[in-house]
């Protein structure tokens, strides 16, 4: 459906993408959208490349996102952003953490890590917002808040007021982490 917004959250298994999709699901449902969120559990969570699809609009049928369909790709790791750009719509935006996590083939020396891949994508006309989310997360109080920092970056690009996001954070994360995650969200927004 043309009025459906498609958003991919990509990263490395164990980085906390499930919390980000939970937060988005809550936020978008509260905003009154029809929402579908699709994730894959099991084998792929063991340090492998992971993808979550979030789609919302007036009426959403498919829970998945194919080539040329994503309005946004939010990536928790640098080359994971580049792995999925075939799914990006023309004019779509990549938001990525600049953190580098070597996959096993790089660790073993069977492959090399393409460190300048974001510059390459930018040169080809892809809109890339690169953020050192790990540093901002640490500044907020926990390296684990990378997901919420990136949600902060994303929030600037979606037509939903910040206070709604903050309410969704309060309703999604454990009470003792709410303040830290709110700081992470604000840092992501550049505030």
């Amino acid at each position: 459906m043309s009025n459906t917004t498609s958003l991919m959250i990509v990263g490395v298994g164990g980085q906390g993408s499930l919390l980000a999709s939970k937060l988005l699901g809550r936020l978008l449902t509260d905003e009154g959208y029809d929402v579908k969120v699709s994730e894959v559990h099991g084998m792929s969570q063991r340090g492998g490349s992971v993808v979550t699809y979030v789609r919302y609009g007036e009426k959403v049928y498919s829970p998945v996102i194919g080539e040329g369909e994503a309005d946004f790709i939010v990536s928790f790791e640098k080359i994971e952003a580049a792995r999925y750009t075939a799914c990006l719509k023309e004019g779509g935006t990549v938001i990525t953490n600049t953190q580098q996590i070597d996959p096993m083939p790089v660790i073993t020396g069977a492959a090399t890590y393409p460190a300048s891949v974001l510059e390459e994508l930018t040169a080809k006309g892809v809109k890339v917002t690169a953020v050192d989310a790990l540093s901002l997360a640490k500044e907020a109080g926990s390296a684990k808040a990378v997901n919420i920092v990136l949600m902060g970056v994303l929030s600037k690009l979606l037509p939903i007021p910040a206070e709604k996001w903050l309410a969704a954070i309060e309703n999604t994360v454990a009470p003792k982490f709410v303040e830290m995650n709110k700081r992470a969200f604000a840092l992501g927004r550049g505030e």
């Binding site: 459906m1 699901g25 969120v37 498919s62 998945v64 580049a82 393409p114 390459e120």
Partner: protein, 582 residues
């Protein structure tokens, strides 16, 4: 109330609302969460249990149904192979309380060893099957399945797939039906399936299938949507329905099948007569297509839509001539990122030892299947639950002395309970000179940490009787049972060599809890002393994701390292520091 639920939670809610009294399951992606969500209800409403395997689970559910309760059993597609024995005869006995079997297929094999299509079981066992297309339907179909089961005196299969089971969509949540358990009445002619009785039951099964076929015509879950101009009609079901509507909107007519067995033939014929060109769009095998073709109706199916893998809206769009423009990609090669054993995974030390000793390893199903990937490449075969133990015996029987001292079976604690123990009985009974390694990480790992009979806890996390693995192995007749800590490489090497050299069956229990368990506290990360690191890369040979090489020296990622210290034992120059043994 409306809620955003994953399909599996919606199934659990539907079963709850449908009055389920008992659930017994064995975990398996993508079905696991159904049982986990059901376990959150109080025991006074829903009794929930993990069983050691799917066959046991289905038989427990059978007993609960026989007693007049509503029962459910959940499993992944290959789990139904294990439960197939009770399944086929349950079709003959029928039920007292409603009996639902949830089976989750995994097209594209996100987390499975094959891509089998469970609909064949519905046909082969002569059972009705329902197939939802989103969370809302998952709830409704699960709830209705109990009624259907009792109305037609049959177990009902509820088929999920990964994209339904693990996708969230908005779901209307309702109330639990209040229902009295049916009183137990002895009916030996219905439930004692010996030939004399079974012969009388088979015609009942056939008559039931005819009645169900008639019911299918008016079943509210089969729905003809006469959108479009009548040129194209599509018969589809499950997640494919969503892809069709997403890709083609209202431009085509759709017959949405919610009950893939038995199929509504009159409805299909009527739908076919109203469209110019008929398609069947279904993932995996041509099950609907075969039926339509057998009816003599021309239909386009698998010649256009693959028998392999998953579809998406793009698959459908491309097949109907719509251009799909892929986004811009980088020219650099993006290295693959396969799943791997976690930093600090206790399986790594044992696999390192096996690889170092060039041992042939018959592997099994679980996280430890990842011992097969580079750089360890330590696994020679993985077939199905338990096949390592039975397989190593067959391997050694044929090769005898040529393999006996250098071949092992490797199996996890939960998989050993599931179907490894029978293989071990076979090893002992048939006097096999085989070595079996039980990787006991005190949890069912791959499916997301479920308790099992070896962990000492039940599904609710309450203390339970615990299988004593050492005593169990000895009672089977294994005289040589050794326990080793896989973080201790020297001990692993010694024990492995001794047990391989022994001229009788032996078991090595490689015991250390999964590092992802909350009860396991990480130790401080190791650091590399650059003055001592000689760049030999020996620490890299065990494939720990926390260790990489930068500027010619080893580097430990402090965010991943849990201080297990296995790498430290590999370093000949003491360059890895910290992570002292407990």
């Amino acid at each position: 109330m409306k809620k955003l639920l994953i399909g599996n939670e919606a199934v659990a809610r539907g079963l709850y609302e449908g009055g389920v009294d008992l659930v017994s399951s064995y975990p398996g992606t993508p079905s696991t969460e159904i049982t986990e969500f059901l376990s959150k209800y109080d025991d006074s409403e829903v009794k929930s249990e993990w069983a050691p395997n799917e066959k046991v689970a289905l038989e427990v559910a059978f007993g609960a149904s026989l007693a007049g309760g509503r029962a459910v059993c959940c499993m992944k597609h290959v789990g139904l192979n294990v439960a197939a024995d009770p399944l086929f005869t349950l079709s003959y006995t029928g039920v007292s309380g409603g009996l639902v079997i949830c089976v989750a297929d995994d097209p594209a094999m996100h987390s499975s060893q094959n891509e089998q299509d469970s609909r064949h079981y519905a046909i082969a066992a002569k059972l009705p099957m329902l197939e939802p297309a989103d969370s809302e339907e998952s709830l409704q179909f699960a709830k209705a399945a109990f009624e259907l089961s009792e109305q037609f005196d049959t177990p009902v299969l509820l088929r999920m797939c990964t994209r339904i089971a693990h996708s969230q969509s908005i779901t209307q949540v309702g109330e639990r039906v209040q229902r009295e358990k049916k009183p137990y009445v002895k009916q030996a002619e219905k439930y004692v399936m010996m030939p004399g009785n079974a012969k009388k039951r088979h015609p009942v099964v056939e008559a039931r299938m005819e009645a169900l076929a008639e019911y299918a015509e008016s079943c509210p879950f089969n729905r003809a949507e006469y959108t479009g101009d009548g040129k194209v009609g599509i018969i589809t079901s499950g997640t494919c329905y969503q892809y069709v509507r997403e890709a083609l909107g209202d431009s085509v007519a759709v017959l949405k099948i919610g009950m893939p067995h038995p199929l509504p033939k009159k409805l299909i014929a009527e739908f076919a007569s109203k469209v110019e060109t008929l398609y069947v769009i279904e993932e995996l095998d041509p099950v609907i297509e075969t039926t339509v073709k057998a009816m003599g109706i021309p239909v386009i199916g698998k010649e256009k839509f693959s028998i392999i893998g998953e579809f998406s809206q793009n698959t459908i769009a491309a097949a109907f001539g719509k251009t799909v423009t892929a986004g811009v990609t980088a020219d650099s090669v993006i290295p693959p990122r396969p799943p791997m054993m976690c930093a600090g995974c206790p399986h790594r030390g044992m696999y390192y030892t096996l690889a170092k000793n060039k041992v042939t390893v018959l592997g099994d199903i679980g996280c430890y299947t990842l011992g097969a990937v580079a750089p360890l490449c330590a696994v020679d075969s993985t077939l199905c639950m338990g096949a390592s133990v039975s397989g190593v015996h067959g391997f050694n029987r044929v090769l005898e002395g040529a393999s006996e001292g250098k071949t092992v079976a490797v199996i996890g604690d939960s998989t050993f309970m599931h179907s490894g123990v029978t293989g071990l009985i076979n090893v002992a009974y048939n006097g096999s000179n085989s070595t079996v390694i039980i990787l006991d990480n005190s949890i069912t790992g791959m499916t997301g940490h479920q308790q099992n009979p070896t962990t000492g806890f039940n599904i609710k996390g309450d203390p339970a009787l615990k299988v004593d693995l050492e005593a169990l192995c000895r009672s089977i007749g294994i005289n040589r049972v050794r326990v080793v800590d896989p973080y201790d490489l020297k001990a692993c090497d010694t024990v492995l060599k001794e047990e391989l050299a022994a001229k009788e069956p032996s078991v090595i229990i490689s015991r250390r809890p999964c590092v992802l368990l909350k009860s396991v506290k990480a130790k401080p990360a190791l650091t590399v002393n650059n003055d001592k690191c000689r760049s030999c890369r020996r620490c890299m040979t065990m494939g720990c994701p926390a260790i990489s090489f930068k500027d010619g020296k080893a580097v430990v990622d402090a965010t991943l390292c849990v201080g297990c210290g296995v790498c430290k034992q590999l370093c000949a120059f003491d360059a890895l520091e910290g992570g002292d043994a407990e």
